[in-house]
Symmetry: C2
Subunit: 322 residues, 2 copies
């Protein structure tokens, strides 16, 4: 089977949105954007040995590679619409591709995202997805409009994905039930797309947590010209992380573990009421963890009224030379 038949067979089966004039099969895709909307575009690469182990289930890889991109769109308050997938594979294994596509298209169809372009190449396994969405003019959420005094929130629970990873690395024993819960968090992150819609007009700034809360909130605070004051006792640590780890380790995983793909956002005092209504639609848990204050330090940690010191942990950074 040649490359072209491979692409046709696996990638052309995406359901086609009505705004997709031409999908896969021409030199480029042809799309009709809605009037009075802006485009939101993001791209993410996953590389074997860096972002996932060689033995990751293909279905999980299909899900996760799209989910991390949809998470970025969610952080902008965008409605996801289209994606392109560039996949580099050591060989064209049919059963692997079938499972990969199953994971990819299940998530794509849930959010009505059409795969509109692809490129298939032979080489070391890696995936690059570019996802696009739209947002009504002027309503996008950004990192940079947080104000001093705004409250800092985070959706969901933190640290579960990182503890799942520790288990895969042989550093954490788990029962089969715990394993199933934590690997599900690690392999199948749920992008907070509906929360992102809800936060339009309510949150003053927003970011998704892929590199860990500490690093990503730091980016938000820096972009907003503020400092984030965080109470570690208010962090929504995942219950299994709480029960399996020491208090210090639990806080470290929640702050620096990474790959939670939750949204971290700021809300002004006067919008706190609107927030409750806004997020009730998406059914997501969310917690206030601190406040934006004046200062140069991106994030400052407190336990009660005392400074909290975190040591020995570092955020995810591929080029960090330690």
């Amino acid at each position: 089977m040649g490359e072209f038949e491979l692409i046709e067979r696996f990638f052309a089966k995406s359901a086609k949105r009505s705004d997709v004039v031409l999908g896969i099969g021409d030199d480029a895709a042809l799309l009709t954007p809605p009037d009075n909307h802006q485009l939101v575009v993001t791209t993410d690469t996953l590389v074997e040995g860096i972002h996932f182990f060689a033995d990751i289930p293909a279905n999980a890889l299909g899900h996760k590679s799209l989910a991390v991109n949809l998470s970025d769109l969610a952080a902008m308050g965008a409605e996801p619409r289209w994606a392109t997938l560039a996949i580099t594979l050591p060989s064209a294994r049919m059963s692997w591709m079938e499972q990969f596509c199953e994971g990819f298209f299940e998530l794509a169809e849930y959010y009505n995202v059409t795969l509109v372009g692809g490129d298939t190449t032979r080489g070391p396994l890696s995936l690059t997805i570019t996802a696009q969405g739209v947002v009504p003019n002027g309503q996008a959420l950004t990192r940079s409009h947080g104000q001093i005094g705004d409250w800092v929130y985070v959706t969901g629970f933190l640290g579960g994905s990182a503890l799942g990873l520790k288990h895969l690395q042989g550093q954490q024993k788990l029962t089969s039930e715990q394993r199933s819960t934590l690997l599900n968090l690690h392999y199948y992150p749920q992008p907070r797309v509906l929360s992102g819609y809800g936060l339009r007009g309510v949150a003053s700034s927003c970011i998704d947590i892929s590199d860990g809360l500490l690093a990503d909130l730091g980016h938000l605070a820096k972009a907003s010209g503020c400092s984030a004051k965080i109470q570690v006792e208010q962090l929504p640590v995942h219950p299994l992380v709480e029960s399996l780890c020491s208090p210090e380790e639990a806080i470290a995983l929640a702050l620096c573990g990474g790959e939670d793909y939750e949204l971290c956002f700021s809300v002004s005092e006067e919008n706190k009421g609107a927030l409750e209504v806004a997020l009730s639609y998406s059914g997501v848990h969310y917690h206030c963890i601190g406040q934006l204050v004046a200062g140069d330090e991106p994030v400052r940690l407190y336990q009660g009224k005392e400074d909290y010191h975190l040591s020995g942990f570092r955020s995810w950074d591929h080029f960090y030379s330690s």
Copy 2:
């Protein structure tokens, strides 16, 4: 230097179009598309050892990785506007990145393309670019609207890039002047963006030649439900290919060598006059090489009135198992 500083330092220096509300630096880019236009989106990956040798000049790689994507946009008649770049690198070498960016941004700025997103990862060298353009509603060129009786054209000259590659593979001796000309074609393909604009409303179908004229014209003919009848003596073989190769090899390189990144398109009898006006603006050479006819065979080759048989050559296909 961390990953984030690396990205900021090298990728944030792109000139910013006025329709880029947010470029690199947030979770996603925010773009304002023009009214009454459609979006054109394409993605292409280049992998070391498959698409280029490890010793390719970084400047050339920067140019070529963007050029191959702009060539796809050109084939749709689109005006390029935005690009994202996912780059996987074994290590963060500063001088290499500087040269890569020089090649990339020189071409980007020539066509007023803004880099709006990026992802930098550690791993085996590969690049995935997603390029986006716009085209007035309903004016995109496609592969599938060629009609029986339409004339088949190709821009530029063929086979030069492939002969440059043969030299790099040690299979073709060249003088230093010949080497410079042919490696320039191989490393610095010029996307036919202006020709693509000109062909809107004039060509009935269009495709870019990346995999070789024979394969790509075959895709066009198949998508249009026609067969392409090609006169090999009318092929615009590059003069150096003509002078350095046997007649058979010259024709084979022109048909199957690949990586010419010229446009192949069809024009109806009544639009032949309009074509001359349309392409005079872009100053590109173009030649009529045959005609779309009824039939099942995607491409049929003739030399004069006789069938022409090509053997021992095959188009570019990563997963072709020979």
